[in-house]
Symmetry: C2
Subunit: 131 residues, 2 copies
């Protein structure tokens, strides 16, 4: 079986209220996380909630990065979905954890789009292994 992409859901705890409530800063960090992982940014949309909190998504050629912040809890829910082998979602995830100065992060990866490998692909793989 092969998969089309990897989707990391990350819980980021112990961040500062001001940082998680600053829409411009949250957007800057999210875009830079995409670039840091080598992704190509296509579209961005960010929204500031009242009295606090930011939601936003960066659409990349390889899928997306999304964030929802609860500044009053010092918490952000992040997810990074990348398709293909070129971009590693964990690079973006670790960058976000560092830039949001999180005291604790826990995350889980799910494989997305699982398909059987064709005989032709299996043969290609065998050739690659035997080289």
């Amino acid at each position: 079986m092969k998969h089309l992409g990897r989707h990391v859901l990350a819980e980021i705890y112990g961040c500062e209220f001001e940082l998680l409530n600053d829409i411009e800063k949250v957007e800057e960090i999210m875009v830079n996380a995409a670039l840091e992982a080598g992704a190509e940014v296509r579209e961005c949309v960010f929204h500031k909630f009242s009295p606090q909190g930011v939601s936003g998504v960066v659409v990349i050629s390889e899928s997306h990065l999304a964030i929802h912040t609860w500044p009053e809890l010092g918490y952000a829910a992040v997810d990074v979905f990348t398709c293909g082998d070129r971009v590693n979602p964990w690079d973006a995830c670790n960058y976000l954890t560092s830039q949001f100065r999180a005291k604790h992060m826990s995350a889980r990866e799910t494989k997305r789009g699982i398909f059987p490998v064709t005989e032709e692909e299996e043969a290609d793989h065998q050739v690659a292994v035997n080289l």
Copy 2:
């Protein structure tokens, strides 16, 4: 322990090429899925890839719905994240499966933002249970 939200990752297989490649139709179905689940739509962003494929996100007050389509495989990767108790992510998910006329869907829910319940909240819960 309590959680802030629920995040459903759904794999939708066996859809028609034309439907998954139609950016306007994909956006319409995604927005309607949010409304169907009782969510409040805040922002939308959709992108059409060449030669095929659509990526898009609907930011809702309760978090987001995202989709990435591979029309050539009849496949769409969907995720629906809702916070609070008012909106059920499975309502959106089932609506999407139906509207994209998927032959097969598999999905998994992850609880997001897990925090310990305070003594005060526990007491409130006990009162509610005893009523």
